[in-house]
Symmetry: C2
Protein backbone atom coordinates (compact mmCIF):
# COMPACT_ATOMS: atom_id res chain seq x y z
CA UNK A 1 0.00 0.00 0.00
CA UNK A 2 1.09 3.55 -0.74
CA UNK A 3 0.33 6.10 1.94
CA UNK A 4 0.54 9.88 1.91
CA UNK A 5 0.35 12.00 5.02
CA UNK A 6 -0.08 15.73 4.43
CA UNK A 7 0.05 18.29 7.21
CA UNK A 8 -2.41 21.17 6.82
CA UNK A 9 -1.08 23.87 9.10
CA UNK A 10 -3.82 26.44 8.54
CA UNK A 11 -6.56 23.97 7.65
CA UNK A 12 -9.95 24.28 9.34
CA UNK A 13 -10.78 22.13 12.36
CA UNK A 14 -14.49 22.96 12.25
CA UNK A 15 -16.96 22.75 9.35
CA UNK A 16 -17.81 26.45 9.29
CA UNK A 17 -15.98 27.45 6.16
CA UNK A 18 -17.09 28.42 2.68
CA UNK A 19 -16.47 26.23 -0.35
CA UNK A 20 -16.17 29.49 -2.30
CA UNK A 21 -13.00 30.56 -0.48
CA UNK A 22 -10.84 27.45 -0.12
CA UNK A 23 -7.58 29.32 -0.80
CA UNK A 24 -8.45 32.09 1.67
CA UNK A 25 -10.86 31.69 4.57
CA UNK A 26 -10.53 27.88 4.51
CA UNK A 27 -6.78 28.04 5.25
CA UNK A 28 -5.50 26.78 1.92
CA UNK A 29 -7.68 23.71 1.95
CA UNK A 30 -7.26 23.81 -1.84
CA UNK A 31 -3.73 22.42 -1.40
CA UNK A 32 -4.99 19.43 0.58
CA UNK A 33 -7.77 18.78 -1.93
CA UNK A 34 -5.27 18.66 -4.78
CA UNK A 35 -3.16 16.25 -2.74
CA UNK A 36 -6.16 13.92 -2.45
CA UNK A 37 -6.68 14.21 -6.20
CA UNK A 38 -3.03 13.41 -6.98
CA UNK A 39 -3.00 10.49 -4.58
CA UNK A 40 -6.06 8.70 -5.96
CA UNK A 41 -6.83 9.55 -9.55
CA UNK A 42 -5.79 7.67 -12.62
CA UNK A 43 -7.24 8.55 -15.99
CA UNK A 44 -10.21 6.22 -15.68
CA UNK A 45 -9.85 4.72 -12.24
CA UNK A 46 -9.13 5.27 -8.56
CA UNK A 47 -5.89 3.92 -7.12
CA UNK A 48 -7.42 1.50 -4.62
CA UNK A 49 -4.18 0.62 -2.89
CA UNK A 50 -3.69 4.13 -1.52
CA UNK A 51 -4.47 5.71 1.85
CA UNK A 52 -4.28 9.45 2.53
CA UNK A 53 -4.08 11.14 5.93
CA UNK A 54 -4.83 14.87 6.08
CA UNK A 55 -3.75 16.37 9.39
CA UNK A 56 -5.92 19.41 10.09
CA UNK A 57 -4.46 22.00 12.46
CA UNK A 58 -2.67 19.28 14.47
CA UNK A 59 -6.03 18.39 16.00
CA UNK A 60 -7.93 16.10 13.62
CA UNK A 61 -6.93 13.74 10.85
CA UNK A 62 -9.21 12.95 7.93
CA UNK A 63 -8.40 9.63 6.31
CA UNK A 64 -9.26 8.56 2.75
CA UNK A 65 -9.20 4.83 1.90
CA UNK A 66 -8.82 4.11 -1.80
CA UNK A 67 -10.61 0.78 -1.79
CA UNK A 68 -13.68 2.19 -0.03
CA UNK A 69 -14.09 5.57 -1.71
CA UNK A 70 -17.33 6.02 -3.59
CA UNK A 71 -17.97 9.73 -4.04
CA UNK A 72 -14.57 11.20 -4.83
CA UNK A 73 -14.40 13.61 -7.76
CA UNK A 74 -11.27 15.31 -9.08
CA UNK A 75 -12.22 18.95 -8.45
CA UNK A 76 -11.14 20.83 -5.34
CA UNK A 77 -14.61 21.95 -4.32
CA UNK A 78 -16.21 18.51 -4.09
CA UNK A 79 -13.23 17.13 -2.17
CA UNK A 80 -13.45 20.08 0.22
CA UNK A 81 -17.11 19.22 0.71
CA UNK A 82 -16.11 15.67 1.77
CA UNK A 83 -13.64 17.15 4.28
CA UNK A 84 -16.31 19.51 5.58
CA UNK A 85 -18.70 16.59 6.04
CA UNK A 86 -15.96 14.74 7.93
CA UNK A 87 -15.54 17.76 10.23
CA UNK A 88 -19.29 17.74 10.86
CA UNK A 89 -18.70 14.30 12.42
CA UNK A 90 -15.78 15.39 14.60
CA UNK A 91 -17.73 15.09 17.83
CA UNK A 92 -18.25 11.39 17.08
CA UNK A 93 -14.47 10.80 16.99
CA UNK A 94 -13.70 9.96 20.59
CA UNK A 95 -10.20 9.09 21.74
CA UNK A 96 -8.53 7.55 18.71
CA UNK A 97 -11.73 5.90 17.50
CA UNK A 98 -12.62 7.07 13.98
CA UNK A 99 -15.97 8.33 12.76
CA UNK A 100 -16.83 7.52 9.15
CA UNK A 101 -18.53 10.43 7.41
CA UNK A 102 -18.91 9.21 3.82
CA UNK A 103 -17.79 5.92 2.22
CA UNK A 104 -14.02 5.64 2.60
CA UNK A 105 -13.67 8.94 4.48
CA UNK A 106 -13.28 9.09 8.26
CA UNK A 107 -12.12 11.53 10.91
CA UNK A 108 -9.91 10.88 13.94
CA UNK A 109 -9.04 13.10 16.88
CA UNK A 110 -5.31 12.81 16.20
CA UNK A 111 -2.60 15.34 15.47
CA UNK A 112 0.59 14.89 13.50
CA UNK A 113 2.60 12.83 16.00
CA UNK A 114 -0.13 10.23 16.61
CA UNK A 115 -1.06 9.99 12.94
CA UNK A 116 2.56 9.57 11.88
CA UNK A 117 3.11 6.88 14.47
CA UNK A 118 0.01 4.93 13.48
CA UNK A 119 0.54 5.29 9.73
CA UNK A 120 4.22 4.36 9.97
CA UNK A 121 3.34 0.88 11.31
CA UNK A 122 5.00 -1.52 8.85
CA UNK A 123 5.47 1.19 6.23
CA UNK A 124 8.76 2.65 5.04
CA UNK A 125 8.60 6.32 6.03
CA UNK A 126 9.90 8.51 3.21
CA UNK A 127 10.96 12.05 3.95
CA UNK A 128 11.16 14.33 0.93
CA UNK A 129 14.05 16.67 1.42
CA UNK A 130 16.20 18.96 -0.72
CA UNK A 131 19.30 17.23 0.61
CA UNK A 132 17.92 13.71 0.16
CA UNK A 133 19.17 11.03 -2.22
CA UNK A 134 17.95 11.35 -5.83
CA UNK A 135 14.84 9.19 -6.03
CA UNK A 136 16.23 7.26 -9.01
CA UNK A 137 19.06 5.96 -6.81
CA UNK A 138 16.72 4.57 -4.17
CA UNK A 139 15.13 1.13 -4.38
CA UNK A 140 11.36 1.79 -4.29
CA UNK A 141 9.98 0.59 -0.95
CA UNK A 142 7.08 -1.87 -1.08
CA UNK A 143 4.89 0.02 1.38
CA UNK A 144 5.95 3.65 1.43
CA UNK A 145 4.53 6.39 3.58
CA UNK A 146 5.33 9.80 2.09
CA UNK A 147 5.06 12.64 4.57
CA UNK A 148 4.46 16.11 3.15
CA UNK A 149 3.57 19.60 4.24
CA UNK A 150 1.05 22.00 2.71
CA UNK A 151 2.11 25.50 1.58
CA UNK A 152 4.06 25.99 4.82
CA UNK A 153 7.28 24.32 5.94
CA UNK A 154 7.15 21.70 8.66
CA UNK A 155 7.48 23.20 12.13
CA UNK A 156 10.72 22.38 13.94
CA UNK A 157 8.89 19.83 16.06
CA UNK A 158 7.29 18.15 13.04
CA UNK A 159 10.59 18.11 11.17
CA UNK A 160 12.35 16.46 14.06
CA UNK A 161 9.59 13.84 14.54
CA UNK A 162 9.75 13.10 10.84
CA UNK A 163 13.55 12.89 10.72
CA UNK A 164 13.40 10.42 13.60
CA UNK A 165 10.76 8.25 11.93
CA UNK A 166 12.21 8.39 8.41
CA UNK A 167 13.57 5.24 6.77
CA UNK A 168 14.52 7.05 3.57
CA UNK A 169 15.32 10.64 2.77
CA UNK A 170 14.86 11.32 -0.92
CA UNK A 171 14.70 14.15 -3.38
CA UNK A 172 12.35 13.94 -6.35
CA UNK A 173 14.33 16.26 -8.60
CA UNK A 174 16.21 19.54 -8.65
CA UNK A 175 13.05 21.64 -8.36
CA UNK A 176 11.15 22.04 -5.09
CA UNK A 177 7.55 21.08 -5.78
CA UNK A 178 4.12 21.70 -4.34
CA UNK A 179 2.92 18.79 -2.22
CA UNK A 180 0.36 17.61 -4.77
CA UNK A 181 2.92 17.63 -7.57
CA UNK A 182 5.33 15.70 -5.35
CA UNK A 183 2.65 13.03 -4.86
CA UNK A 184 2.20 12.73 -8.64
CA UNK A 185 5.95 12.36 -9.16
CA UNK A 186 6.21 9.84 -6.32
CA UNK A 187 3.46 7.73 -7.89
CA UNK A 188 5.20 7.87 -11.27
CA UNK A 189 8.45 6.79 -9.67
CA UNK A 190 6.74 3.83 -8.01
CA UNK A 191 4.66 3.00 -11.09
CA UNK A 192 7.71 2.81 -13.30
CA UNK A 193 9.95 1.28 -10.63
CA UNK A 194 13.08 3.13 -11.66
CA UNK A 195 11.88 3.38 -15.26
CA UNK A 196 12.99 -0.13 -16.05
CA UNK A 197 9.92 -2.29 -16.00
CA UNK A 198 7.34 -0.83 -18.36
CA UNK B 1 10.76 27.01 -23.61
CA UNK B 2 8.33 24.32 -22.50
CA UNK B 3 4.85 24.53 -23.96
CA UNK B 4 1.68 22.67 -23.08
CA UNK B 5 -1.41 22.65 -25.25
CA UNK B 6 -4.54 21.26 -23.65
CA UNK B 7 -7.77 20.69 -25.53
CA UNK B 8 -10.92 21.43 -23.53
CA UNK B 9 -13.67 19.69 -25.41
CA UNK B 10 -16.57 20.77 -23.23
CA UNK B 11 -15.02 24.01 -21.99
CA UNK B 12 -17.07 27.20 -22.13
CA UNK B 13 -16.63 29.62 -25.05
CA UNK B 14 -18.52 32.43 -23.32
CA UNK B 15 -18.07 33.94 -19.84
CA UNK B 16 -21.53 33.03 -18.57
CA UNK B 17 -20.57 30.21 -16.22
CA UNK B 18 -20.45 29.90 -12.46
CA UNK B 19 -17.19 29.58 -10.54
CA UNK B 20 -19.18 27.41 -8.10
CA UNK B 21 -19.75 24.66 -10.67
CA UNK B 22 -16.49 24.24 -12.58
CA UNK B 23 -16.77 20.45 -12.76
CA UNK B 24 -20.38 20.58 -13.93
CA UNK B 25 -21.93 23.55 -15.71
CA UNK B 26 -18.52 24.93 -16.72
CA UNK B 27 -17.69 21.83 -18.78
CA UNK B 28 -14.91 20.44 -16.59
CA UNK B 29 -12.99 23.68 -16.56
CA UNK B 30 -11.51 22.33 -13.30
CA UNK B 31 -9.30 20.02 -15.40
CA UNK B 32 -7.89 22.89 -17.44
CA UNK B 33 -7.30 24.97 -14.28
CA UNK B 34 -5.28 22.16 -12.72
CA UNK B 35 -3.28 21.90 -15.95
CA UNK B 36 -2.37 25.59 -15.65
CA UNK B 37 -1.36 24.99 -12.02
CA UNK B 38 0.83 22.00 -12.91
CA UNK B 39 2.44 23.84 -15.79
CA UNK B 40 3.51 26.94 -13.83
CA UNK B 41 3.88 26.34 -10.12
CA UNK B 42 7.02 25.51 -8.26
CA UNK B 43 7.08 25.55 -4.49
CA UNK B 44 7.97 29.21 -4.20
CA UNK B 45 8.08 30.39 -7.79
CA UNK B 46 6.44 30.45 -11.20
CA UNK B 47 8.11 28.61 -14.06
CA UNK B 48 8.75 31.61 -16.29
CA UNK B 49 9.93 29.63 -19.29
CA UNK B 50 6.54 28.00 -19.83
CA UNK B 51 3.64 28.80 -22.14
CA UNK B 52 0.21 27.17 -21.90
CA UNK B 53 -2.47 27.09 -24.57
CA UNK B 54 -6.00 26.13 -23.51
CA UNK B 55 -8.20 25.36 -26.50
CA UNK B 56 -11.80 26.06 -25.55
CA UNK B 57 -14.45 24.25 -27.57
CA UNK B 58 -12.28 24.41 -30.74
CA UNK B 59 -13.22 28.09 -31.04
CA UNK B 60 -10.97 30.13 -28.76
CA UNK B 61 -7.54 29.61 -27.24
CA UNK B 62 -6.50 31.21 -23.96
CA UNK B 63 -2.74 31.58 -23.65
CA UNK B 64 -0.76 31.92 -20.41
CA UNK B 65 2.81 33.30 -20.60
CA UNK B 66 4.97 32.37 -17.62
CA UNK B 67 7.24 35.38 -17.76
CA UNK B 68 4.35 37.85 -17.82
CA UNK B 69 1.93 36.29 -15.35
CA UNK B 70 1.18 38.43 -12.32
CA UNK B 71 -2.05 37.22 -10.75
CA UNK B 72 -1.91 33.46 -10.98
CA UNK B 73 -2.81 31.52 -7.84
CA UNK B 74 -2.75 27.74 -7.45
CA UNK B 75 -6.43 27.11 -6.73
CA UNK B 76 -8.90 26.14 -9.45
CA UNK B 77 -11.39 28.89 -8.75
CA UNK B 78 -9.03 31.84 -9.20
CA UNK B 79 -7.59 30.35 -12.40
CA UNK B 80 -11.12 29.82 -13.71
CA UNK B 81 -11.77 33.49 -12.97
CA UNK B 82 -8.79 34.45 -15.17
CA UNK B 83 -10.21 32.29 -17.98
CA UNK B 84 -13.62 33.88 -17.54
CA UNK B 85 -12.06 37.34 -17.76
CA UNK B 86 -10.28 36.26 -20.94
CA UNK B 87 -13.61 35.12 -22.40
CA UNK B 88 -15.09 38.53 -21.55
CA UNK B 89 -12.52 39.94 -24.01
CA UNK B 90 -13.31 37.46 -26.79
CA UNK B 91 -14.93 40.06 -29.03
CA UNK B 92 -11.63 41.97 -29.05
CA UNK B 93 -9.83 38.94 -30.54
CA UNK B 94 -10.24 39.54 -34.26
CA UNK B 95 -8.74 37.19 -36.84
CA UNK B 96 -5.72 35.66 -35.15
CA UNK B 97 -4.89 38.87 -33.25
CA UNK B 98 -4.85 38.25 -29.51
CA UNK B 99 -6.58 40.28 -26.83
CA UNK B 100 -4.81 40.49 -23.49
CA UNK B 101 -7.22 40.24 -20.57
CA UNK B 102 -4.91 40.21 -17.51
CA UNK B 103 -1.10 40.30 -17.33
CA UNK B 104 0.25 37.26 -19.18
CA UNK B 105 -3.20 35.98 -20.18
CA UNK B 106 -4.64 36.51 -23.66
CA UNK B 107 -7.36 35.09 -25.85
CA UNK B 108 -7.23 34.23 -29.56
CA UNK B 109 -9.97 33.22 -31.97
CA UNK B 110 -8.23 29.97 -32.84
CA UNK B 111 -9.25 26.33 -32.61
CA UNK B 112 -7.05 23.28 -32.18
CA UNK B 113 -5.55 23.08 -35.68
CA UNK B 114 -4.45 26.73 -35.85
CA UNK B 115 -3.15 26.73 -32.27
CA UNK B 116 -1.18 23.53 -32.80
CA UNK B 117 0.34 24.87 -36.00
CA UNK B 118 1.37 28.17 -34.41
CA UNK B 119 2.67 26.62 -31.18
CA UNK B 120 4.60 23.93 -33.02
CA UNK B 121 6.82 26.53 -34.76
CA UNK B 122 10.36 25.55 -33.79
CA UNK B 123 9.16 23.30 -30.95
CA UNK B 124 9.44 19.52 -30.78
CA UNK B 125 5.86 18.29 -30.69
CA UNK B 126 5.47 15.52 -28.14
CA UNK B 127 2.49 13.22 -28.34
CA UNK B 128 1.74 11.30 -25.15
CA UNK B 129 0.49 7.89 -26.11
CA UNK B 130 0.05 4.51 -24.47
CA UNK B 131 2.07 2.93 -27.27
CA UNK B 132 4.81 5.55 -27.20
CA UNK B 133 8.45 5.08 -26.21
CA UNK B 134 9.14 5.10 -22.45
CA UNK B 135 10.06 8.67 -21.61
CA UNK B 136 13.30 7.57 -19.95
CA UNK B 137 14.53 6.26 -23.31
CA UNK B 138 13.95 9.55 -25.11
CA UNK B 139 16.46 12.38 -25.16
CA UNK B 140 14.61 15.37 -23.65
CA UNK B 141 13.93 17.90 -26.41
CA UNK B 142 15.11 21.47 -25.79
CA UNK B 143 11.82 23.14 -26.68
CA UNK B 144 9.04 20.62 -26.27
CA UNK B 145 5.37 21.18 -26.95
CA UNK B 146 3.27 18.61 -25.09
CA UNK B 147 -0.23 18.20 -26.48
CA UNK B 148 -2.87 16.83 -24.14
CA UNK B 149 -6.59 16.35 -23.91
CA UNK B 150 -8.92 17.09 -21.00
CA UNK B 151 -11.16 14.35 -19.53
CA UNK B 152 -12.16 13.24 -23.04
CA UNK B 153 -10.10 11.49 -25.67
CA UNK B 154 -8.92 13.43 -28.70
CA UNK B 155 -11.42 13.33 -31.54
CA UNK B 156 -10.32 11.35 -34.59
CA UNK B 157 -9.53 14.57 -36.42
CA UNK B 158 -7.47 15.95 -33.52
CA UNK B 159 -5.64 12.66 -33.13
CA UNK B 160 -4.74 12.59 -36.79
CA UNK B 161 -3.56 16.24 -36.82
CA UNK B 162 -1.45 15.51 -33.75
CA UNK B 163 0.03 12.31 -35.15
CA UNK B 164 1.02 14.21 -38.27
CA UNK B 165 2.67 17.05 -36.31
CA UNK B 166 4.36 14.86 -33.68
CA UNK B 167 8.16 14.67 -33.53
CA UNK B 168 8.13 12.25 -30.59
CA UNK B 169 5.60 9.78 -29.30
CA UNK B 170 6.27 8.97 -25.67
CA UNK B 171 4.71 7.27 -22.71
CA UNK B 172 5.25 8.65 -19.22
CA UNK B 173 4.74 5.36 -17.38
CA UNK B 174 2.58 2.27 -17.26
CA UNK B 175 -0.41 4.15 -15.79
CA UNK B 176 -2.64 6.41 -17.88
CA UNK B 177 -2.74 9.77 -16.13
CA UNK B 178 -4.97 12.83 -15.96
CA UNK B 179 -3.66 15.67 -18.12
CA UNK B 180 -2.53 17.77 -15.14
CA UNK B 181 -0.62 14.84 -13.63
CA UNK B 182 1.00 14.18 -17.01
CA UNK B 183 2.23 17.79 -17.08
CA UNK B 184 3.78 17.37 -13.62
CA UNK B 185 5.54 14.17 -14.68
CA UNK B 186 6.72 15.76 -17.93
CA UNK B 187 8.23 18.67 -16.00
CA UNK B 188 9.98 16.28 -13.63
CA UNK B 189 11.36 14.34 -16.56
CA UNK B 190 12.73 17.53 -18.12
CA UNK B 191 13.94 18.93 -14.77
CA UNK B 192 15.95 15.84 -14.02
CA UNK B 193 17.02 15.28 -17.64
CA UNK B 194 16.90 11.50 -17.43
CA UNK B 195 17.68 11.58 -13.71
CA UNK B 196 21.38 12.07 -14.30
CA UNK B 197 22.13 15.70 -13.69
CA UNK B 198 20.88 16.62 -10.23
Amino acid sequence: MRQFLIVGHDAPTAPEFSLDDLAGGAGRLDVLCRCVNSAFFLSHAIREDVRVHLVLGDEFTVRFEGDELRRLNPDERSTAALIRTALEHREDAIGHIPAESTPGVSIRRMGFAATLEEAAGDAAVVELHEDGDPVADVEPPADPLFVLSDHRDFTDREASLLAEAADERVRLGPAVLHADHAITVAHNYLDTDGYTSY
